[in-house]
Amino acid sequence: MSYIEIAGVTKSFSAGRGVRPVLRDVSLSVERGEFVSIVGAMGSGKTTLLSILAGLSSADAGTVSVDGETVTGVRDNAAFVFQNYSLLPWFTALENVRLAVEASCRTLTREEQKARATHVLEQVGLGNALHRRPRQLSGGMRQRVAIARAFAADPDLLFLDEPFGALDALTRETLQGELMRLCSSVGKPVTTIMITNSVEEALLLSDRIVPILPGPPATLGAPISVDLPRGRTVAQLAHDEQASRVRAHVVATLTAALGSRRLRTGVVPTEEEKTKPRVVAEKPHPVSLS
């Protein structure tokens, strides 16, 4: 039995008089310590799936279990990084992180809690911005605070909802590096599920990539393993044959799904589109599906 078992998760939202199916029969197993990315276009139901996995919302059918226990709410060993940072604007960086430490490490004294929060912020390079409010921080710095907040609780389980989606390319790359470093520095296996719309980001960070095929309702494609040692770099991925193969495969799967959706929604592809090869990115440049 794997660490995380997702079995037959189905979810719909009520839309006006009818219901809008979002996810259908989603199943996936994730091993302890594994980093799995779920890649897909915006609006394909990724966030819904992640919030079900994290226990923020419940599925209509199917189950999610972590470590043998069925997920019914947010687990105490899980942390979450949201795309839009979700920092509390009335608190400083330190206070935001302390809130997480206070909630998760109740046995520590106030001084120890403060020391821990400070330490985690220093680890993400914010030692000199402890007392600044989110408004006074750049997007990259805010997301660093959010990442620090997630790691402050010393989680076994990490859910990342497009964590770098709102950042510029350069900041994105630096933060991806920071995240890798943090994950490997905690000294215990951290199981991570990230959702992203960037195939490159998934390649850089994950052990397995799972394409989410847009519906509605969305389903999961077959997982693809990335058999490269961790601590990859963008430059390395650009020239690696294995990376190119995985990239091509993921992109092909996703574009094929998008194409079939177009057919179903009645938009007929042109002759050229039909005959054109579906693999659009043989060249190793960043691919974003959005």
Partner: protein, 253 residues
């Protein structure tokens, strides 16, 4: 040049209003002109804290009585309105239960509440506080409620993900997120409280700006009515600005 103009324009406005007042005073025999109003009010304005008798007091002293009463009534209203607002904000069931009642009670004039207060408390002072509190708490309730409902889903998610206790969620997320809305409510409530105080003092004859106004009307000293009206307006304006300032500070966070 433009700044100077902008400074002068309000003065021109005031000048025009004085001119209209003066024009009206020529037509209406009982209406004192601006100059006569000033002459008859000098004593009250230049010795603002004098106390010559029960109602015959300096204007600042009268205003002080009214402000104390407004402050008490307003605080009472806020003390009731704020928690009620929070409860209605977090509970759709309670909202459903009390919304129709609120919609009916809200438009009732202070003049209608005052006699009820007199029946309930038998003395004018608590009756006035009752009327102020009842009339002024609605904006506090409604704005606090709206503020709680306007808390972005992100913040609720933070509370869920960090598994904050109910108390922590309330103190560290709900209250700070709602604070700017609460202060909008407080500002509106204070404005209403100030409107109510004048009416209630007029009806109960208690010393204060409103009581003074009514007293002087009965004594046929019309200049003092105008003095009282101007005082009420200026104090109301200052109160609003002070609360607006506090509100802006909170929104800037």
């Amino acid at each position: 040049m433009k700044r100077l103009l902008y400074l002068l324009l309000p003065l021109v406005g005031v000048g025009l209003a004085l001119l209209a007042w003066w024009g009206a005073s020529l037509k209406v025999t009982d209406l004192p002109s601006p100059l006569r109003t000033w002459e008859e009010s000098r004593l009250y304005v230049l010795e603002p804290f004098a106390k010559r008798g029960e109602v015959d007091q300096g204007i600042a002293r009268l205003a002080y009585y009214s402000l104390v009463r407004v402050g008490q009534g307003f605080l009472l209203g806020a003390a009731i309105g704020t928690p009620v607002g929070f409860l209605l904000g977090v509970s759709p069931l309670l909202t459903r239960m009390f919304d129709p009642l609120m919609q009916v009670l809200r438009p009732i004039s202070p003049l209608a509440w005052l006699p009820l207060g007199l029946v309930l408390f038998r003395r004018s002072e608590p009756a006035a506080l009752f009327a102020i509190a009842v009339c002024s708490m609605w904006p506090t309730i409604i704005n606090t409620m709206m503020g709680v409902r306007a808390i972005p889903q992100d913040y609720w998610n933070v509370a869920k993900v960090l598994r904050l206790s109910k108390t922590t969620t309330f103190l560290k997320i709900i209250v700070p997120a709602t604070l700017p809305y609460m202060f909008t409510g407080y500002r509106l409530s204070l404005g209403i409280a100030w409107l109510v105080i004048v009416a209630s003092e007029m009806l109960t004859g208690t010393p204060g700006v409103g009581g003074f106004l009514w007293q002087e009307y009965n004594s046929l000293i019309y200049a003092h009515i105008l003095l009282a009206i101007l005082t009420i307006g200026i104090i109301g304006f200052v109160l609003d600005r002070l609360m607006g300032f506090a509100e802006a500070r909170l929104r800037a966070v």
